[in-house]
Amino acid sequence: MAVTDAARAVRDSLADEHPILALVVRRLAVGVLTLLVVSAVVFLATEVLPGNAAFAVLGRGANPVRLHALERQLHLNRSLADQYWIWLSGLFTGKLGVSLANGQPVWALVKPRLINSAVLVFVTGLIGAILGVALGAAAALRKDGLFDHVASVSALTVTSLPEFVVAIALIILVSTVVFHWLPAVSLLAPGTYAWSEPRLLILPVATLVIVIVPYIFRMMRASMIEALESDYVEMARLKGVPDWRIVLVHALPNALAPTIQVIGLNFLYLAGGVVVVEYVFNYPGIGQGLVFAVDNRDIPVVQFIVVVLAAFYVLMNILTDVIALLATPRRRIAR
């Protein structure tokens, strides 16, 4: 009892003095705990394999000697808790074992893919955010105008499309049937980096931008309209503040706060969205790597990529919350 009381007292004093810091610490703690549970779920899910991994790799007619050797290599002769511990500590030391498909170390296999996907997500997020905010603000300024209607209906339409349909439409349009401007699939070998052929980034980035912009657009439009109809904008108008200043200095910053949250949510979406898009364009990132690994039942690679994606997801979620909190003075004080 006394211990929990003391802990509560520390927490409360932290919460009083640095409310934001306390919140960040709490979110981070919950995030780390979530990730630990996630890693256990991933590990257990892949361990319920009927037979075991060694059997799955070598097949039905496996030679008992080789089966035994592979079991030792994969630590399958240890207890489940030991196996989990070996795997979990490997996540931090980089000793992730070898791919069951081709015997290469998992880390060497996944690292270049990780960097390629990071490039793809970052470029997409940047272009998508700028485009979404600009289009949303423009639609809000001319609310119920022609541009607003066209953009809103297109946004609703595009949000319902699967990524691979957008990708295929782009391929039909610019690289096969209608025009022949860009290569339909990248011919980059796995293990090479995207910037050695930047042209191959264009279609994957374009696809993902088309998929995420509508969400950012809709939120930006809604919050910009709200800001423009607010009392402080009315006040600024009555005081004779010029229009451009009202939009850029008064309305835009306030409209951006909720939009940042949606931009963050779209980065989250990209963690899953890259899977299909990378596969369509043969882009050598972790999404394509995951599809190949699932296809080959390459369990060590699947485990690692899924944990990486989940970690990105959880950390991005926390980051989004914190930024949204910092960007909204109203909510910061309310705590």
Binding site: S160, M219, V275, V276, L290
Partner: protein
């Protein structure tokens, strides 16, 4: 005591002069008469019709090798042939129904599990709430497609597993929305009255709270159905859904994309059918949400706002 009805049925004064109807029906009816409602219903309705009637009216057997590969459309094969020389039209007609059934099952599973979890969390509070919402957080840590792929990597491509994986990955999102809606409802007077009368918690949840969640549940069902179709088609496209030689719109797109310069219709038609179907379900859901909420806000944003208020209240 006409308190509950107008708040759900919405803002139109015309509704009051009509016969008293179930509020959900009147919302759905009014949504179906908006422009978006008409477009959404007719789009999704016609695609569903194609998928259901299609298998009975195929001009050729969908699996038969009949002509050259990637043949252009001709009088005998109106959409040309695919990468093995099979009739594209027959395969398109046969290739939708499994996708639809699987999407519907996954949606039902996600809505039922999510609603049960969300209502229990909000009404029982305390430990049940904490346990349910922490579980929700863990499942939410996986992108939906990745969650499905994780399970598929273990047991191989199995249709029941895909339904289970997609349904399960919907449940947490549904649970969040329904939880915040229930928090609001469980403070209402009629719930308090039922409690004072000694009604059991389970009974209160099913007969007092659930009927008042019909509108948010409908919006969630529409959204989840759209996402189910997107994910199911995506998994088929990646080769983890129905296996060849089955005809499946997602799989067809992947199989035939190498032949795009020769016979683009083998790709365009299944892609367009999937696109029109998801646009249809999403547009109708949007129409319903606008009528039900009564404000000009798309569903994602209202869900986001719910989520923000939910976090503040925690």
């Amino acid at each position: 005591m006409a308190v509950a009805a107008p708040s759900v049925a919405g803002t139109s004064p015309r509704g009051t002069s009509r016969m008293v109807r179930h509020p959900w029906l009147s919302t759905a009816w009014r949504a179906a008469r908006t422009l978006r409602g008409v477009v959404g219903l007719s789009l999704s309705g016609s695609i569903v019709l194609i998928a259901i009637i299609g298998p009975f009216v195929t001009p050729d057997p969908p699996d038969a090798l009949l002509t050259l590969t990637f043949a252009k459309p001709s009088s005998h094969f109106p959409l040309g042939s695919d990468f093995l020389g099979r009739d594209v039209l027959s395969r398109v007609l046969d290739g939708g129904w499994v996708l639809l059934v699987m999407a519907a099952l996954a949606t039902a599973l996600g809505i039922i599990a999510g609603a049960a979890a969300g209502i229990s969390a909000a009404y029982l509070r305390g430990r049940s709430d904490a346990l349910i919402m922490r579980t929700v957080d863990v499942i939410l840590a996986f992108p939906q497609l990745v969650f499905a792929l994780l399970l598929l990597s273990v047991l191989g491509p199995q249709l029941w597993l895909i339904v289970l994986a997609v349904g399960l990955s919907h449940a947490p999102q549904v649970a969040r929305v329904i939880r915040s809606a229930t928090l609001n409802i469980s403070e209402r007077d009629y719930v308090k009255v039922a409690e004072l009368q000694g009604m059991r918690p389970r009974r209160i949840m099913t007969s007092e709270i659930l009927p008042n969640l019909v509108s948010p549940l409908t919006v969630e069902t529409g959204l989840r159905l759209t996402y189910s179709i997107v994910i199911m088609a995506g998994l088929s496209f990646l080769g983890f859904g129905q296996q060849p030689p089955a005809a499946n719109w997602g799989l067809m797109i992947n199989e035939n994309r190498t032949g795009l310069p020769l016979n683009p219709w083998a790709v365009i038609v299944p892609a367009a059918l999937i696109a029109l179907l998801t646009i249809g379900t999403n547009t109708f859901t949007d129409a319903f949400a606008r009528v039900a909420i009564g404000i000009d806000r798309p569903p994602e944003e209202s869900a986001l706002i719910d989520e923000l208020t939910l976090r503040e209240s925690r």
